[in-house]
Symmetry: C2
Subunit: 133 residues, 2 copies
C-alpha cells in the first residue's frame, strides 16, 4: 500500500519536514538520503526537520544516519534539526555514549522551526560561511 | 524500533499534521482515531492535515477511515484536509466511484494550511456555528 517504502518529505515554507515511522534499514536510509538531498536542491530549502517521536530506540545505525543526513544537508546549505525525541531515548543515548554531536535537536517541530528561523534571521553565519560562492 | 505502531501527530500552530506511511489496518486506524481526537482536544487544534503522499492505493477502507477521522474532528470543531494525493490515486478513486465526498483535499501541506487558515479567517461560520457554547 505504501510507495515502495519511501519516507514522504513535506515542504513547509523554507523547510522540509519528515517523520520517521518505520524501521530504518540500509536501503531505506539510502533512498531517504537521495530523496532528501534532491528535495533540498529542488525546493532551495534552508532547513530540514526530522521527527523521531515514533522511535523507541535510537541506535548507532540511526545515529549515524541522522549525522550523515545533517552533514549532507549542511554542504547543501541547509540546517538539520532532529525533533520529538522521547525521554527514554535521550537517556539511552547518553548512557550509550551516543550524544549525536553533529546533530541539532529541539523538543518538537514548533521549537525546531523557531531554531531554524532564528538561525536564518541571525545572518546564518555558520551556514553562509561555507557557501560555495 | 517504532513505538508500538502509532502514527506520530505533530503540532504546527493551530493545526495537527500526520503522514500516513505504513499499511493501515483496523487496530492502527483505531489507535489513530483515539490519539488524534485526544490531541485535538488537548491542543485545542482547529485543523488536521493528513498527508497521504506515501500511499499508492486508497481503497474503501482508507477512504472510510479518512471520512471517519474528518467526522470526528468536525464534531470537535476542527476541519480536516487530506493532502499529497498522488495523481494515480485520484484517477483510481474516481474510477471506483470513491470520491471522498466528506473529506476536503488540497495539493500539498502548504495549500492545505492556506485552506484551513482561510476557513478560519473567514469567520469559521461552519465550525463555530456548532460550538458547544
Amino acid at each position: 500500500m505504501t510507495g515502495g517504502e519511501r519516507i514522504p518529505i513535506l515542504k513547509m515554507g523554507q523547510f522540509l519536514l519528515l517523520t520517521i515511522q518505520v524501521d530504518m534499514h540500509d536501503q531505506l536510509a539510502l533512498s531517504l538520503q537521495d530523496d532528501l538531498t534532491d528535495r533540498i536542491v529542488k525546493e532551495r530549502a534552508r532547513g530540514v526537520l526530522i521527527d523521531i517521536s515514533a522511535l523507541e530506540i535510537v541506535d548507532s545505525f540511526i545515529g549515524r544516519m541522522l549525522a550523515n543526513i545533517a552533514g549532507m544537508a549542511r554542504v547543501l546549505d541547509a540546517e538539520t534539526v532532529v525533533v520529538g525525541m522521547r525521554p527514554a531515548v535521550a537517556i539511552t543515548l547518553v548512557e550509550l555514549g551516543l550524544s549525536l554531536p553533529d546533530v541539532r535537536t529541539a523538543l518538537n517541530v514548533e521549537r525546531g522551526m523557531e531554531l531554524l528561523t532564528r538561525a536564518g534571521v541571525s545572518g546564518g553565519a555558520r551556514g553562509n560561511g561555507s557557501r560555495p560562492f
